[in-house]
Symmetry: C2
């Protein structure tokens, strides 16, 4: 295992450097330094690739006597084989590193395109990203739907069949329900909104700090910065960073971005040193399991009725806005006709995700059909009209809203909805251990962190979602909790829907 551990040490260093370069690009780097960062990322990505994908290492890896390894070592070897060899070794190194450089440029292009509402600045990059991803799927090989390869990248074991079943349920159960809710006249909420006012960024930063403290994020091991699109990154469990954005005229955007990212960040901070220190098993499990945490904090804690006391108190103290717990609960759970996924209420959220799922699935249906990027904006808008009854009138509100495609994170979106479903299931299990609402009301988030650490967080990348759900919930994935939770919550809030 000596050579394996040496390679892991290098892998960790490359990852650290590359994550820091990305963090720097999003939060600090100068306008003109994009090219330099992209060049360096390209070189490091190539070196990172070659670190595992070389004949000598392959020989070493595949000649190991697995029976002589301990459990962690077995898992390490399995992960390297699956994540590195099976995924990467079939992709020629030049193409891989060219792709990394492309992504870096595409990300910057996307940022400008979104800001200036100019799809034409981004669409060629988008096309190249889609086409290269298709080529890579061909290199890697696939059974069934090619898109399943990408789904599995972000959510181990996930495939088109499972997703189809899950989203069919959303389409059948939630879409008509949500469309009814969206038709309701929310004059009550409009009155509450009239109480809101512009809040300067400096004050909103105090709110961020207060939430960080409330959730018991360890500030010696991480911090908050700003970026266009909020995200979390980590270099190890002792340096976990996340971002938010501030809008003067929207206090909720920052609050829920911070709580969401805190879910990711707490997860990373709570990974056991055993996995974090010297292995490749550092970092959370799949994207879906990661989203389960972020959406647990954002929705199941942050939009829980029991959280309104804490939040209302802070809004009064910091922003001098008087909102009762009931008013706040209505406000943060408003079901809105609006375009932005990350600003979406819990109910319409999986529908936003479903729209992206349908688009991606179709693009990757056939690897030999070229994607017509000129038609994507309309396709996007058509689906919004069909499922949410609204049609974006700018690219920035439509096709350009998410950063994912610019970073080649295709097949990622479904994990958001699946993750939300995990979260509901985990909540139900947690509630069997202690009264979660009481813990929230008493600002005892430590208790929640502790449960999640014990059952999920501490295991880092060493267990798959299936195993973690068994540990936390003692059952397999079951989306019923999610559908029921959403219907019950919003039926209660929006009353009889047929009036």
């Amino acid at each position: 295992m000596k050579k394996i551990y040496e390679a892991i040490k290098r892998e960790r260093a490359y990852k650290h450097a590359m994550s820091l370069l990305s963090w720097d690009l999003e939060t600090a780097a100068t306008k003109d330094s994009i090219e330099g960062i992209s060049e360096t990322m390209g070189v490091l990505a190539e070196l990172q690739y070659l670190n595992f994908i070389n004949d000598e290492f392959k020989k070493e890896l595949y000649s190991l006597d697995i029976d002589k390894l301990n459990e962690i070592e077995k898992k390490i070897v399995k992960v390297i084989k699956e994540e590195k060899f099976e995924k990467l070794s079939k992709i020629p190194v030049e193409e891989f590193s060219k792709f990394e450089a492309l992504i870096s440029k595409a990300s910057s292009a996307w940022e400008i395109a979104k800001k200036e509402n100019r799809y034409e600045l981004f669409k060629d990059y988008l096309k190249e990203i889609f086409e290269t991803t298709k080529k890579f799927i061909k290199y890697r090989g696939y059974k069934g739907h090619p898109y399943s390869v990408l789904l599995d990248d972000f959510e181990k074991g996930l495939d088109v069949e499972t997703c189809d079943k899950f989203f069919d349920e959303i389409r059948k159960e939630l879409v008509p329900f949500a469309l009814k809710v969206l038709k309701k006249n929310n004059s009550k909420i409009e009155k509450i909104k009239n109480k809101l006012k512009e809040i300067p960024v400096e004050k909103q930063k105090l709110m961020s700090n207060s939430l960080i403290k409330l959730v018991d994020f360890n500030r010696d091991r991480g911090y908050l910065a700003e970026s266009e699109h909020p995200f979390t990154t980590f270099f190890n469990n002792k340096d976990v960073r996340f971002t938010t954005h501030y809008y003067k005229d929207d206090i909720l955007s920052n609050i829920y971005s911070v709580i969401h990212e805190l879910g990711h960040a707490i997860y990373e901070q709570q990974v056991d040193d055993e996995f974090d220190k010297t292995t490749i098993l550092a970092g959370g499990s799949t994207m879906g399991m990661h989203e389960a945490q972020s959406r647990f904090y954002e929705n199941l804690i942050g939009k829980n009725k029991a959280f309104m006391k804490s939040l209302s108190k802070r809004i009064k103290e910091l922003y001098e806005i008087d909102l009762s717990e009931e008013e706040l609960y209505l406000l943060v759970n408003e079901v809105k006709r609006q375009f932005i996924r990350i600003e979406a209420d819990e109910l319409t959220y999986p529908i936003h995700v479903m729209i992206r799922y349908e688009i991606e699935k179709e693009i990757f249906e056939n690897l030999d059909t070229e994607v017509d990027v000129d038609k994507l904006p309309d396709k996007w808008n058509d689906l919004y009209e069909k499922y949410l009854g609204i049609r974006p009138n700018t690219y920035s509100l439509g096709i350009l809203q998410d950063s994912h495609w610019s970073g080649a994170a295709i097949g990622y979106f479904p994990a958001y909805a699946i993750g939300s479903a995990y979260a509901s299931q985990i909540y139900a299990a947690m509630n069997k251990n202690f009264d979660v609402e009481s813990a929230i009301r008493e600002e005892n988030i430590k208790e929640i962190n502790k449960f999640l650490k014990e059952k999920i967080h501490r295991y880092g990348f060493s267990k798959e979602p299936k195993e973690l759900l068994q540990l936390a919930c003692k059952e397999d994935f079951n989306p019923t909790y999610y559908i029921n939770y959403l219907k019950n919550k919003f039926l209660e809030i929006y009353g009889g829907l047929d009036e």
Copy 2:
């Protein structure tokens, strides 16, 4: 040359990543992330080392037909041979990377030790750094004084003989002069100081911005942050970052830190793309030439009588402090009995440097004598008493004040004084081309930037100080300009010294 260029591309990526990691450590990283950064730095340093120092590359490098190369390629090959092979290849790679990791930890230890005035937290690191450096000198081999090896690392061609001659002059001409000046009663300056007041950090940041603009630093290609000890770093000529520190009760500290670092930063921004883009010749020339630029901006511009109009106007506008040009000129050129090198006036500055030179020279006199780090604080204090008539009463004001030793930058200090001397010589040459004082008075710093770009900056690392001085001054290094400049300036300010 293909393989050479490939190695250079990797070298640039490692450098970028490592510089960013250092930047991150100083400006942003969390308290607990030091260990992770240090580990990653160690791994990258080893990879960086192996990138050039391997048999295959060596064979390639030494089998090149030099006559067939163009001028830049010739220079590249020369630099790689000198900077990489001759310096590094004799040091075993494990020792080299262990040393890099040591430096990273030592830097953090120094920071805490300085803050808490606890030399005992740092001295073991210091000893290990000195002893390892000695061992490395042995590996590398040396003629004459072993310390010359280190001097040459930071200032190509510099050796103990040249330094002895230079500092003898300082000791003979400037020390007695400075001691006389220091005895003078500065009641006038005390009155001016009474006009000063505490200025909040936010206002001082506006001053930084104003100076950045005045000096015509390109903000699309760099920015200012904060750190304990101000420094400049660059990833390429399009991403040049520097730091300052803010003290509420000392407005000059920030102002002159910013102007000083701007000298370094302008240098890096003005390196030609030709050298910056794909070669190993990016970045300024030697440390001495770099310091020549920073001290040119700090002293020859920033403490020039002609600059007082600009500065006095800004101090009035931003800080609401009324200081006439004459008052300000006296204030910023006050010759002070004080301990901190980077806060020193121009006159005593080279004496601060000389003290470090004497200590380092003695430590490296004999490579087999172990350094007694317990005695260093007293030695330091004794020299301050001898040359400046003052004795530090804390470690933080004495032996712990500079970051250099914690980063193994030994042999670096003399370049500060040599650089200051270059600066005076360059000023005299510039003055033959245009009236520098007028340019400063008219805030036409562009004109100065332009001259320095043409004669020095644009060449990056492709020319040595000797060549650059010839280009700029049409003569070899001549410290007389410096000694005369200092004596004349401070004689004028402090009047007849014998009264």
